[in-house]
């Protein structure tokens, strides 16, 4: 089935559930899904009810789409995302971006948890993504180009919208929140990196490292969606501190930074 036909089926399903036409899409990373709970007049659609959506392989994964209002804006939020390391194809990983585009989304706020490579960062810092490095070894647009969705060779020179970044920094300042501004490098995972890899990534110009976001942003740009990226530095990357890395640490930090994250996100959405 062609992508356009799949999109029609998804659109029909969503239109049968809600009249809301969201213009802002939200992808909520590890431990940051709580923002979706604050959406009012919410319609919730579990992923398994959406045609062509990847079937989750992760136990206890409660993925759902939440559509409704947040700070006066119509939004669609993904509570839970698909990662390449889970074994999905990149087409599957980025399918929700295509869906958001079909729903009318013009702005994507994409969030993630990442490891801090920049020595000036602290766990709990929020980082505006100013650019990314695709080190997944792949590109989600490999294959015949869907001309109806975007161009064969998408420009990536301002993948992370400069106006949005400026806006986000302004909102952070107004709210008294210190934020970083840095380059996110995307790897496949699922292992955390070795200390030698972290030193290499620092030489390459990366400030933070993670296992998501990059494929989604590439497809969003292909679709002409403007992107704001926010990363929660959940731990320092390997070799910086004398301790092993664990997923529990990532979740703990996300929990601690939750209030600040919510305040920042609400402020930004209001101003968009």
């Amino acid at each position: 089935m062609k992508l356009a036909d799949k999109m029609n089926e998804v659109q029909q399903l969503i239109e049968s559930r809600t009249q809301v036409k969201p213009t802002i899409g939200l992808i909520l990373g590890s431990g940051l899904g709580v923002l979706a709970d604050e959406i009012s007049d919410a319609v919730r659609i579990p992923y398994e009810e959406i045609p062509h959506f990847p079937v989750s392989t992760v136990e206890g994964h409660q993925g759902q789409l939440v559509i409704g209002q947040l700070n006066g804006k119509h939004v669609v939020a993904m509570q839970g995302r698909f990662h390449f390391y889970e074994g999905y194809s990149l087409e599957q990983v980025t399918f929700p971006i295509r869906m958001m585009k079909a729903m009318g989304v013009q702005t994507l706020i994409i969030t993630n948890a990442s490891g801090g490579i920049n020595m000036d960062y602290q766990p709990g810092d929020l980082m505006m993504i100013k650019d990314h490095i695709n080190l997944t070894g792949r590109n989600p647009l490999i294959g015949p180009n869907e001309d109806a969705f975007g161009v064969r060779f998408p420009d990536m020179s301002t993948a992370y919208d400069p106006d949005y970044r400026e806006l986000a920094h302004k909102v952070a300042k107004q709210n008294g929140i210190d934020v970083q501004d840095g380059v996110y490098v995307g790897l496949t995972g699922p292992t955390y990196e070795t200390p030698a890899e972290i030193r290499m990534l620092r030489i390459l110009g990366a400030d933070a490292v993670g296992m998501s976001t990059v494929p989604e942003v590439i497809v969003a740009r292909h679709a002409g969606i403007r992107v704001l990226g926010i990363s929660c530095i959940s731990n320092m990357a390997a070799g910086i501190l004398p301790q092993p890395l664990s997923h529990a640490e990532v979740m703990e930090t996300a929990e601690k930074v939750k209030t600040t994250f919510l305040r920042l996100m609400r402020g930004i959405i209001e101003e968009l």
Binding site: E86, T191, T194, A196, G239, P244, L245
Partner: protein, 274 residues
Amino acid sequence: MANRLQQIEEGVRFIQEKIQLKPDIGLILGSGLGVLAEEIENPIIIDFHDIPHFPPSTVAGHEGRLVVGTLGGKSVIAMQGRIHYYEGYTMSQVVFPVYVMKGLGISSLIVTNACGGINRGFQAGDLMVIEDHLNLTGDHPLIGPNMEIFGPRFPDMSRAYHPEYRELAKRKAVELGFTLQEGVYAGISGPAYSTPTELIMLARFGADAVGMSTVPEVIAAAHAGLKVLGISCVTDKAVGEELEPLSHEQVMEMALQARPRFISLVKALLPEVH
């Protein structure tokens, strides 16, 4: 995934029926280093292609069999020959033997390989203990559903090469009176050797040596909670600015020269691998 676990289990069961002892230490013997397996006492030899789901090795200089027995007073299982990604196997196949060895009961893994020396201080014929690695294969053996029974979804790699084993190897080399280099191993897919510019890039990335194996196996070992010692045999100089043509025959020849030191080092350290 259920299928994959089942395949590992079938591999384990097949081998268990043929051996008496429970191996404690696994050995993966790289290009030209397989001869160490011939020193194993009371060996039980099992060809890769007889083991259910085991991918056969197709490279010259790789025997493609398991040798189980005792060496240095330890119960060991040695892979004489290994599975490489460039042969066309999936990463999941490449690391299959690591999970089988874990299933047989090993708690430590000694991985060996032949590599190119990027560090200008290295000479062809040097042995190097691996301090850390760079995964530049463009792939990852743990992509897909996690096998929770072996390890966590997001394994830590901050001490993938066990620090105590590295110290042990260095101490034994001193006792044996030869130089043991230490450095970062960059794992690429191959099978082409690197271009001069690629080698210059790898040097800037912090690599001391480059090769086409080891990284996937060590990732799987870290996932499975195995303590790893990595030993590389520097078979050629891989300095981008001074690169000369290289053949597999040269690699094998230098591995041959380093072989006596390699064998004496592994035999000397095995009794102290805990």
